[in-house]
Symmetry: C2
Subunit: 289 residues, 2 copies
């Protein structure tokens, strides 16, 4: 089943509530611009898939968790693109938020999306509102200073960096939130889902490094070759292309093996193998087969 | 009773948890710098005072709500000081966060403090965890795009501005969160506390405008006369000094009259009159007497 319509609907509803009459019009525009049209919505689709594999007994909780994770992802893109970080002109094939709206509204849109993520969880019409605390905690950890996305970005401001901690914080943490929050939304024991999310995140990061190396700007919707230009760590620059592809394959296999026991285990494992193929750069789709 | 030690302890504990081994050291330093030493902690003291007036039957909830509000206040100061907004060199008598740590870490510290606010609520050892949803909702509304602080700041990016909406969003919203969240933390009907918080916020804003006009940089810990220099709205520039002081007096009287019925009503009303005197610029302390 395609989960995308369910995700887009939740994002639209939450954003409409957050950007109504009391929201300055240009901020409302910037928020919409940062969220729509989206990318592949990989993280919220992963969250919903895990919730379904765990029985999905509270769909409003799963929807809210998935939307929160996507809002945080969009916030991180808007802030990462700012002149003081990547100074990126393009994102998803259009001008980055600060190029389109100016730097003040880009900072504020990112801030407001972080807030909206938590509001979305708190406002969801859940059957089991006692799950709100766990969901806020899991999602907060993924973006906070203690190993979350802000920590990942802040490692770029340090002279000495632990590469594994850097990638885990910058990319793995939000994938881990997707699997863990998906399970928590469905009332399952959720920490057993963390290693799976982190491994999918690592696979995604390697695939992203490969894309940056072999893709074109038209394919990526942003400039290619940025890792090398910005001196950023990259599996391709570190290992070479062939070994990076090998690493990607082994991460996908490891992810499939890490699926915890759950009602929908077999289907979910097949989905993981199918979905991780979406990570592949065009022309390399068979790599994970 | 002085509530400050209780507040400082909660802020320190929450920050220690958020800036531990998995937090890049310079980000940890920037977070600490943004929160300590604090200003008057007016908002969290207000939140705790309301919780006490309402019976304070879940002190951990009140502590967490108060700390969350202060973290969000600190985040807003760090981001407002950024070069793309006020470009402020000084804050609380020391270099602003981006002057001390650079712009990337200032953006990230603000982001991480927003996240930490919500994590603090979710992680509190509450007796009544079913209050988490209301607290996250109330606090989120105060800083979100729909009439919260980000909306307030974003009004500065519009060509036409409703001044009342601007002040309510930029200043009133977080004071309203303090009263409303204080009541919600204690399990009281919380929306009746909103008008009081908004009125205190309005009084604070007028007092701030007066301070900016009559204070010195040494008294303020930041440059004086910024409203005029930056063309920002100000009650003093709009009404003149004398009428602004009159407006402040009437707002304080209105606030005292807006205290909802609660077990500690008389004491709380006296506290409001005492505390609002702290807003007064040095040499004008008798104004609200």
């Amino acid at each position: 089943m395609d989960l995308t319509p369910r995700i887009e609907r939740t994002l639209e509803q939450a954003l409409r509530a957050a950007a109504g009459a009391d929201c300055p019009p240009r901020l409302a525009d910037a928020l919409h611009y940062a969220v729509f049209p989206g990318g592949a919505r990989i993280r919220p689709r992963l969250a919903l898939a895990v919730a379904k594999a765990c029985g999905d007994d509270d769909p409003a909780a799963a929807d809210a968790a998935a939307a929160a994770i996507e809002f945080l992802h969009c916030a991180s893109l808007v802030h990462d693109d700012l002149p003081c970080f990547d100074d990126a002109d393009l994102r998803r094939g259009k001008p980055s938020a600060h190029r389109a709206f100016g730097e003040p509204l880009a900072v504020l849109a990112g801030d407001a999306l972080i807030v909206l993520a938590f509001e979305t969880i708190a406002a969801a019409p859940m059957r089991r509102p006692e799950r709100i605390g766990a969901l806020v905690g899991v999602v907060g950890r993924a973006v906070g200073a203690q190993g979350g996305i802000t920590a990942g970005q802040a490692w770029e401001c340090e002279s000495a960096v632990d590469l594994a901690a850097y990638h885990l914080a910058k990319t793995g943490s939000l994938f881990a939130a997707a699997t863990v929050a998906g399970a928590a939304a469905a009332g399952a024991a959720h920490e057993p889902w963390r290693a799976l999310g982190e491994t999918i995140g690592e696979a995604f990061q390697v695939a992203d490094d490969i894309s940056d190396h072999v893709g074109s700007e038209a394919q990526l919707g942003k400039p290619a070759g940025r890792d090398k230009a910005l001196g950023r760590p990259s599996a391709v620059l570190e290992l070479g292309l062939e070994a990076a592809v090998g690493r990607l394959k082994s991460l996908v296999a490891r992810a499939a093996a890490l699926v915890p026991p759950c009602p929908g285990e077999a289907d979910f494992r097949a989905l993981i193998l199918h979905e991780t193929r979406r990570f592949m750069p065009s022309g390399m789709k068979t790599v994970a087969a």
